[in-house]
């Protein structure tokens, strides 16, 4: 299950072909070498430090909403597991 995370480009270093993105509110360096015409404000899918391709803001928001939901489900599962462990 290979999740690539949507992130927004905050800064671009043209010479190095790298940039800084906001990934869940955390600033991360990424390579922009694999995509064309990256601009500040674009949304990209990021995997192991590389921007893979550009996506629309709508697609990014839809995917991020699903990822938030996965995070919430995982937290609920942890709470349930902890409660079960206490009962046992």
């Amino acid at each position: 299950m290979c999740l690539a995370i949507p992130a927004q480009i905050l800064e671009i270093d043209q010479a190095a072909d790298t940039g800084t993105v906001s990934l869940g509110g955390v600033r991360r360096p990424v390579s922009l070498a694999l995509i064309e015409d990256a601009e500040i404000g674009d949304f990209v899918l990021v995997h192991v430090g590389y921007a893979l391709n550009k996506i629309s803001a709508e697609e990014a928001e839809r995917t991020l909403a699903m990822m938030r939901e996965i995070g919430e489900l995982a937290e609920q599962a942890d709470v349930l597991a902890a409660a079960q462990a206490e009962i046992n």
Partner: protein, 447 residues
Amino acid sequence: MSDLAGQLEIRLDRRTGAVAIGSTRPVTASRVFAGKSPAEVVRQLPALFSLCGTAQAAACIGACEQALGQQPSAAVLARRQALIHAETIKEHLWRLLLDWPRMLDCKTESTAAINANANANANANANANANARASALALPPAASAMPSVMQAFMAFRQAQQAAGDPFSLDQQQAERGAVAAIDSRRLLDLVIDQALGTAPADWLDAVDRLASLRRWAEQTKTPAAGLVRVLVAQGLAGCGVSAVPRLPGSACQQLAWSLASAEADAFIAAPQWQQECAETGPLARVAAQPLIADLLARHGNGLLTRLAALLVDLAQSARGLETLLDTRMEDASDAIGCDAAVDVGADVGVNAGSRPGRDGRLGTGTGVGFAEAARGLLVHRVTITNGRVEHYQILAPTEWNFHPQGVVAQSLTAIVRSGAEGSELERLARLHITAVDPCVDYQLSVS
């Protein structure tokens, strides 16, 4: 949010060879699809699991179609397989142009640089590390064509989507997409220019033994041929051999039943086949091919066999893409890997019978879908009740290959026992992890 992709933590004891593999991969993320309509899931799932989104889409729609009693035409199946081939080509070229060169060339780099390289996406808090990371993200010289690979793949996929989506539950749209003329030349040319040096079918005919592989590597100027030369020159052909069996193609039925069992969650997190760990991926797919059979006999499942398996799988995918688009093969079921019509088993807690009821008209049923993704076999299982997904499960290749006692764990132990020490031990461990290829970031610690 940024940690949602998960990570593997691999610890290697340099004295005993003991290996511990921990995973924070979100193996139950597919629960997010409960309550949605099958059409929504088919649309959303590839966007979520986008790295191998095409194979994910194929397994997803296979499962949904079986659950709903829909039968796609041979042309639709063939087009789906062609698109999976294109994705496999993109992924394998990434390994050959970007990952393998970095790992093979890093012999002279300091351990710090190697760490910065491999952990580039792991921790971004310290400014001091940021510069090292940025330089580590620069493409190696061998990867100068990688941007073209990504663009060719994206262009191919967009052209297909514009013509019609063969991964749609809307059968009319799927049929429209299946017969659209799509040009794969750009992607196929990159396979020749960057890897094989010749047409895929000719390469598969000519390179059928270790001797012909070495001859090809000496005579060919592509980055991939250079990898074979370097690997042999460094004496690493038999590095990391283990006895872990390969997951057989006949496993599909049993896997479907395992996903229906009460222990399905534990199985998905750490799958085994007949009480043993098993490997899935390019080597498992092409083990019977003449070149790989010869290499397995001479070097076991060491690094040269793995690199050659990547090349053979790349060549077969390129040949398959060309054939499927040119002739619209009448029957693509062999290429799909598993017969989609497996007995799906009873869903524990949902249906106590030996087979769940299915009523496509009412939108109720259970289905299992399979796809051979670049990194190995993907299995999806869905239960649909009254037009809504009740339960969705995904069994992914990384859980087989990075099982705590699986092929990577055993191969890393073999590398320690071969006498490798210090930074060389760490380099060989990273090379082997790259060769088996997790689809997530990893942290390696050698102590």
